[in-house]
């Protein structure tokens, strides 16, 4: 377009002719995304291929045209192609022929390239794609819809109309007023009201003033400005020209980082076009207003996003901040009053001026109006660029727009605002994304970078990463930022290397506070934020690194020899025994397992295998090594149990140690004490040892003789078990003390079931799942109804349901108030329950137990729907619709477990914590009373068997240290596993195998073990799938 636009009439004429041309075009348009992300994934090759096939089919010209657009948004799904309303993802050049033949010629959609619903059905309309459905695109209004290199295209969609309106119909005060009504706040991060900044600069004395645009987007994971510059550069030019008109500037500068060559190139072309058309330069649109723009390229210094540093850089000096005041509005570029906003802020302006501030203010919250562009990155399905109304809850952004987390892994935290921001953990998924709410959480809106993290992210490592970035990017001018962040980085590095010390967390907090308080510019003043916010929300992870030298997410190399092992609460040498099984050296493998966990056979059946969720093999073919399956094989090969290494010690043998509770925690504590030569006594309230293993877990999952063998092993090592001895009933802690017991371990679990708190709960036929399971497991019979309803979603619920089914219930239904994927029970257990005929009623909440003549006759329930996010990071169920009645003659309640401490402690006072569980040191198990130790569910609340085993081991070491003043835990020293391994060999291509199960019809009338073991060759092949992550990492 080479026409010069001399006045509004010219502009309107061009718009009209462009609209006419558009309307006259009766053919189809193929939009190919030419945003940075799609270019990187090869969209130009796709465009070329499509063009070729269009030509070949003779469609070119009036029938089909192909347009390159700016960023469409879901970058991770690129290259993207839009035809009509179809949104094609991951398009390859090879797909071109099908797109042309089927869609353009045949008029049919190419289903396989369309986005899919969760049920796999293709989504045929762009507006129905969840990614777009919840977005409101103002800044990105043209991105992906027009050709960024065509001024005519921009004018067609009302481009430069806002400038014309401002220049011809409004005085600068009116423009400011409109901006004020819009409520727009600076989108660069600080959120200062835009109209106010404009007004300051407008009122500052001085003939020469400048308008500057900050396009120095440098946050890791942020690409909002880039996409606007690449996808709709004229909107920035128009916004800046309006600002220049308001403040009285004749010259503007756009500061863009040189790492954005495409953005620079497109902006340069757009400025040239605007200049040629007379939309930049002298006497714009026939008025007295003159304005021109220049691009200044930065060299990738994060600090140049800081306004004073940015201006220093434009002036040609080293980009370093200078003290404020004076503020740029008074004394900015070359000492002149300067207005500085970022790309996104300016890109909003044309919309606001053209449609009125009120239209913009319709979106957003009370204090934060309009929309915000976010760049979604990290562990999120729809990584890309989105624009949503300010105030959208974080959870909606991540799950609805962002499509959730790959692999359905739990959300852990989102880092908002890049290195200056902070993380928001799952407890706050319901937080609205606005300036105030985020600040309260120690995060910031920032420029809109959102990095999503799942449970595989180590928060200490995340903090270290951001601090490393900040330290690299600090200009080095002021002491707190230059030296302070270095010292923080050093402390974090040593924590990650397992060299953290007590007091390090406090030191980080103090340094962080001081750096924030004393730094020269915003970079330093916010640099500690990622550290402070991760400490605030994930302090336990820091403590784990420092005290336990452990990184559960499996990230910190010095603390992790293999991610599976890091994830194991008992720290079992998993790659070690897998390697040994792979060589057929079963006895050695078992011995290695029992170095850290006596319950090899038990855990082979009931372990929740967090190791498998961390297995790196999943990155290879999507499936983890079947670690529990290999363990099952290994345990099943054992004919005679071998005792582990025991170091006899006559001194220790004489000392009296009491263990309360013969569950996994207590028995494990006894096992490890015995290995040090102690002869502890275990007191068990019930008649049979095993705790939850025997009381709660049904025999079809854990045959009793399997458990008994391992309990006997522990007894043979010198651990005495006295059953039928209940603390608080048969003896007291003080009595033990009086009898000369020097230390006591409390492994009493969380045996009481929680109440529902609804009417009718006390009727006959309402039973607690813990009781129900226990009575059956210990006595061999329990009353079972005909129509059984189980309330709850955990393992107890599933166990009770499957038990009831086996005991002859006609129908068993589990009702749970959330969705199935939110059920805490193990997935394989739920699956088997369904296989066996248990019905699942999800999103149902009991309201009342219906009672007739004192007996249960039904359960009145209400349908629920998922609403906002609760503190557990899950969608909160909320009642919807009418209530309904489920007939039932038995209701089994499995909604949680508690511990009644008062009943057992007697006169001894122990410090308690959350929900009345015992407060104990996570490393030593020591409680507030020095001779009393605790671990397992009694400390953590209901958790897993293997967590209890780990807690027992730590307490054993803690007790030994308490008694002797030294550490003797010889099993903690890793021994090299001598198994030949050639890392140069490609990994095994063997697929993951499932454990065989017995047929359903054989299960439902018996308690025969459901799962069986593999044949040896299968097990060996499965074991050999291990990638040996630990290889070469041990000394």
């Amino acid at each position: 377009m080479s026409t010069v636009i001399r006045n509004k009439a010219d502009l309107d004429k061009i718009r009209q002719s462009a609209r006419d041309a558009e309307a006259a075009f009766t053919g189809r348009t193929v939009y190919v995304c030419a945003g940075g992300g799609c270019l990187a994934s090869g969209s130009m090759k796709v465009a070329e291929a499509i063009n070729k096939h269009i030509d070949a089919a003779g469609l070119a010209g009036t029938r089909v045209r192909l347009v390159h657009t700016g960023c469409m948004g879901p970058c991770v799904r690129g290259p993207l192609v839009v035809i009509d309303d179809a949104f094609y993802e991951h398009v390859c050049p090879e797909d071109a022929v099908e797109i042309v033949q089927r869609h353009l010629i045949g008029g049919e959609l190419v289903d396989r390239l369309l986005p899919k619903r969760s049920d796999g059905w293709p989504i045929t309309k762009r507006s129905e794609i969840p990614f777009f459905a919840k977005q409101t695109r103002i800044v990105l209004r043209n991105c992906g819809g027009i050709d960024p290199l065509s001024l005519t295209d921009y004018i067609r969609v009302d481009g430069y109309q806002a400038l014309a309106k401002a220049l011809l119909e409004m005085n600068p005060e009116q423009v400011v007023e409109e901006m004020k009504i819009s409520g727009l706040r600076g989108r660069g991060g600080a959120g200062f009201p835009t109209w106010m900044k404009w007004n300051f600069t407008r009122n500052a004395p001085g003939e020469v003033k400048y308008v500057v645009c900050n396009g120095d987007e440098g946050d890791p994971g942020a690409f909002m400005d880039r996409s606007v510059l690449e996808g709709d550069p004229h909107s920035l030019i128009e916004g800046m020209a309006i600002a220049a008109y308001v403040i009285g500037a004749k010259q503007g500068y756009v500061y863009v980082r040189a790492e954005y060559p495409l953005a620079v190139e497109r902006l340069r072309r757009a400025i040239e076009q605007a200049r040629e058309a007379g939309l930049l330069g002298e006497k714009i649109l026939g008025t007295d207003f003159s304005f021109d723009l220049e691009i200044r390229m930065g060299s990738g210094a994060f600090v140049c996003g800081e306004e004073t540093a940015l201006m220093t850089s434009i002036e040609g000096k080293r980009g370093e901040p200078r003290p404020r005041p004076p503020f740029p509005a008074i004394k900015g570029l070359w000492g002149k009053p300067t207005l500085l906003n970022n790309v996104e802020t300016y890109a909003n302006v044309p919309f606001i001026i053209l449609n009125g501030g009120g239209e913009y203010a319709k979106y957003g919250t009370e204090k934060s109006k309009g929309t915000k562009v976010f760049a979604l990155a990290g562990n999120i399905n729809n990584a890309g660029l989105v624009e949503v109304p300010v105030g959208m809850p974080l959870g909606d952004l991540i799950y609805d727009v962002g499509g959730g987390i790959p692999g359905g892994k739990p959300f852990k935290a989102a880092q908002l605002g890049g290195p200056s921001g902070g993380c928001v953990p799952k407890e706050y998924l319901d937080t609205p994304l606005d300036y105030e709410s985020l600040q309260e959480l120690g995060a910031i809106m920032g420029s809109g970078g959102v990095i999503v993290m799942d449970e595989d992210n180590c928060m200490v490592d995340v903090a270290r990463f951001f601090l490393e970035f900040v330290q690299d990017e600090s200009c080095g001018k002021c002491v707190p930022c230059r030296v302070g962040t270095k010292r923080m980085l050093e402390i974090l590095t040593r924590i990650c290397e397992g060299k953290g010390q007590e007091g390090d967390i406090e030191k980080l907090e103090e340094l962080g506070r001081q750096i924030k308080d004393t730094s020269l510019c915003g970079l330093g003043q916010t640099a500690p934020n990622p550290v402070l916010s991760t400490i605030r929300h994930f302090r336990h992870e820091y403590e784990e690194h420092i005290r336990e030298k452990k990184c559960t997410p499996g990230i910190c190399p010095a603390l992790v020899d293999s991610p599976c092992r890091s994830a194991c609460p008992a720290n079992v040498d998993i790659p070690g025994y897998l390697a040994l099984v792979g060589e057929g050296r079963i006895a050695e493998a078992l011995r290695l397992h029992r170095e850290r966990n006596p319950f090899a056979a038990v855990c082979a059946r009931v372990c929740f295998h967090s190791c498998e969720t961390k297995c790196r093999h999943a990155a290879l073919d999507g499936t983890a090594v079947a670690i529990r399956g290999v363990k099952r094989f290994m345990a099943d090969q054992e004919i005679v149990i071998q005792l582990p290494e025991i170091r006899e010690n006559p001194e220790n043998a004489k000392r009296k140690i009491a263990i309360i509770g013969a569950g996994p925690a207590g028995l494990s504590c006894g096992y490890f004490l015995a290995r040090l030569g102690y002869k502890p006594v275990v007191f068990e309230a019930e008649e049979r040892p095993g705790g939850m293993l025997v009381q709660a877990i049904p025999a079809y999952r854990l045959p009793r003789e399997i458990l008994a063998r391992e309990v006997r092993m522990i007894e043979r090592m010198g651990v005495e078990i006295r059953t039928g001895m209940k603390l608080g009933r048969d003896f007291t802690l003080q009595q033990l003390r009086d009898e000369g017991y020097e230390a006591v371990f409390l492994g009493v679990g969380a045996p009481q079931g929680a109440k529902m708190g609804i009417p009718g709960e006390n009727a006959e036929g309402v039973v607690d799942a813990m009781e129900f399971n226990k009575i059956y497991n210990l006595r061999g019979s329990v009353p079972v109804g005909r129509r059984v309803v189980v309330v709850g979603g955990g393992n107890s619920a599933v166990d009770a349901a499957r038990t009831a089914l086996r005991l002859g219930a006609e129908s068993v239904t589990i009702v749970y108030r959330r969705t199935r994927d939110a059920m805490p029970a193990y997935e394989e257990e739920i699956e088997e329950a369904e296989n066996e005929g248990v019905k699942l009623e999800m999103l149902v909440m009991p309201e009342e137990v219906l009672v007739e003549s004192g007996k249960v006759v039904g359960l009145r329930c209400r349908r629920m729907a998922l609403a906002g996010f609760d503190r557990t990071g899950r969608r909160r169920p909320e009642a919807v619709g009418e209530s309904f009645v489920m007939e039932a003659d038995q209701v089994i309640v499995a909604i949680g477990q508690t511990l009644n401490l008062d009943e057992i402690l007697g006169s001894v006072e122990l410090r308690r914590k959350w929900r009345n569980f015992i407060d104990a040191n996570p490393v030593t198990g020591q409680t507030s009373v020095e001779w009393i130790f605790a671990g397992g569910d009694a400390v953590t609340g209901p958790a897993s068997v293997v967590a209890a085993v780990g807690a027992g081991e730590r307490a054993a070491v803690g007790i030994d240290y308490y008694l002797t003043g030294a550490f003797h835990a010889f099993w903690r020293e890793d021994k090299p596993v001598e198994v030949p391994f050639d890392p140069a060999q490609p990994p095994s291509k063997e697929p993951r195998a499932k454990l065989p199960t017995i047929p359903v019809e054989r299960r439902i009338h018996s308690f025969e073990e459901v799962e069986h073991c593999w044949e040896a060759p299968v097990a060996v092949r499965q074991a050999r799938r291990c990638l040996r992550c630990e290889y070469g990492k041990r000394k």
Binding site: G476, V479, R482, Q525
Partner: protein, 598 residues
Amino acid sequence: MATATDVITVTINGRAFDAEPGMTILQAARAAGVEVPTLCYLEGVQCIGACRVCVVEVEGARNLVASCSTPVAPGMKIHTHSKRVREARRTVVELLLSEHDGDCATCARSEDCELQALARQMGIKTNRYEGERTKKLVDFSTPALVRDSGKCIKCRRCVSVCDELQGVGALFPQGRGFDTVIGPAFARALDTTPCAQCGQCAAVCPVGAITEQSHIDRVWDAIDDPNLYVVVQTAPAIRAALGECFGCEPGTLVTGKMTAALRRLGFDAVFDTNFTADLTIIEEGTELLTRLKKALVEKEPVALPMFTSCSPGWIKFCEHYHPDFLPNLSTCKSPQQMFGALAKTYYAKKIGRKPEEIFCVSIMPCTAKKFECQRPEMHDSGVQDVDAVLTTRELGDMIKAAGLDFMSLPDEEMDAPMGLSSGAADIFANTGGVMEAALRTVYEIVTGRELPMENLHVTPVMGLKGIKEAALSFENVKPEWSFLEGVTAKVAVAHTLGNADRLIRKIRSGEAQYHFVEVMTCPGGCIGGGGQPRFCTDEVRKARIAAIYKEDEGKPIRKSHENPAIKQIYEEFLGTPLGEVSHHLLHTSYTPRPKILS
């Protein structure tokens, strides 16, 4: 908008004070008698704001603010020593200590280190933030200065003086984060830059990161060598500043005690650079008149204005930056070098020694003199004319090392003949002083009358203004100078190289025209030299300047041409000004130098 006459009321630590608009919190606090510690703050340059030691708490502000850069505002409530401030400040100093190579016992700045003083003030006894230290790179490449990056705390005072004051910009920050270093481009050695070696960086460095190359050891060695006859000359600026090394107020004159101390240190003869300052006036005055005659009478092309050449930093700056002005520089050597050449010829002959048996030491307020003395052209006696240069600070250290109780030494006189001088020579120490001394002599030569100014002072060229100008008309001149009748001589005086640069640009563009221009490298002239006792502010400079004028006014002879020793040396040795011997021993030439050196 407040006008300049408005007064702003602020509250500092709970008490109300009046402050002037535009004042910083630091200035207001100091005016109110409240001391706020600073480290990077430097009077006279743009606020740096790097060290954060001067942070204070302002009620209502989210963060602490740097008092050096934050202007006062009406009603501001400031706390300079609250717990929050004290803790933050302490952390900042602790962080500095943690990166600093703090081996105090072996540091040249051990007792006048500002960081050490702050640490002591804040009661810092342990280092809570130990970690990696700044990489140690020691740059000995220049004759005048040593830079030790391990000690550098990146306060940027040196960057500011080098850039803003001197217009050289040899030092600046490079790298980022903890790896930031201050130094020449691409971390090269200082001798690859057009550094003037003025030592202003060393004068403002709060720690031992930039110091002079010490000549103390070689001076002791010479004194201890029985075969060497060690003569010492003392520059005029020393006597007004040396006392500060011993706790005197700035501006205390210690000429006599200094002489006594030098004798007790073991120098064989104690002389005065003032002697050759007087000689410079004769030679340079004659040169100026000769150039004027050539220009006005013989109409020969001759370089005017003529520039003084006493200040070696200025000479080097001119060689690097304005080589087209080298012909304008007076060919006279600086007084230091004239002295060296004469000590090893004229004086050596007098005492029957060979030049190589004389060891010539100068005490200078200047680090560039260490560069100057080793210039290859400064060997006119056949050997290096000046062997060692001590700064005022180094002399102070030597006196302390010798255990002399300086303040109780008697006042002694310098030795004849090279210890005799006029008041005109004294004022060489001050900006405008060389000009005034020259005018005293030139005017009298031309007119036969004394300079018609009160107390012989050329008031317009006195004081700390950056560029000063004066005009002087010659009337009723002696017959041999008739070509100057009615001529108004226009002169200019600049101190600091930044001002010199500005002046040269004006001259080059034709915007300004002069006959004679004095340039001194350092602010205030030699009294503010890079080798003077720290810490130099304008107040200190003014006190030293006043002391020098006092010394001048107290002298019986106040014009160079009236110095009998000068008359004597022309009679006995030199012959006539600009004569054969003078040409050989007292004059020199200059060489253009590139801006970037390999």
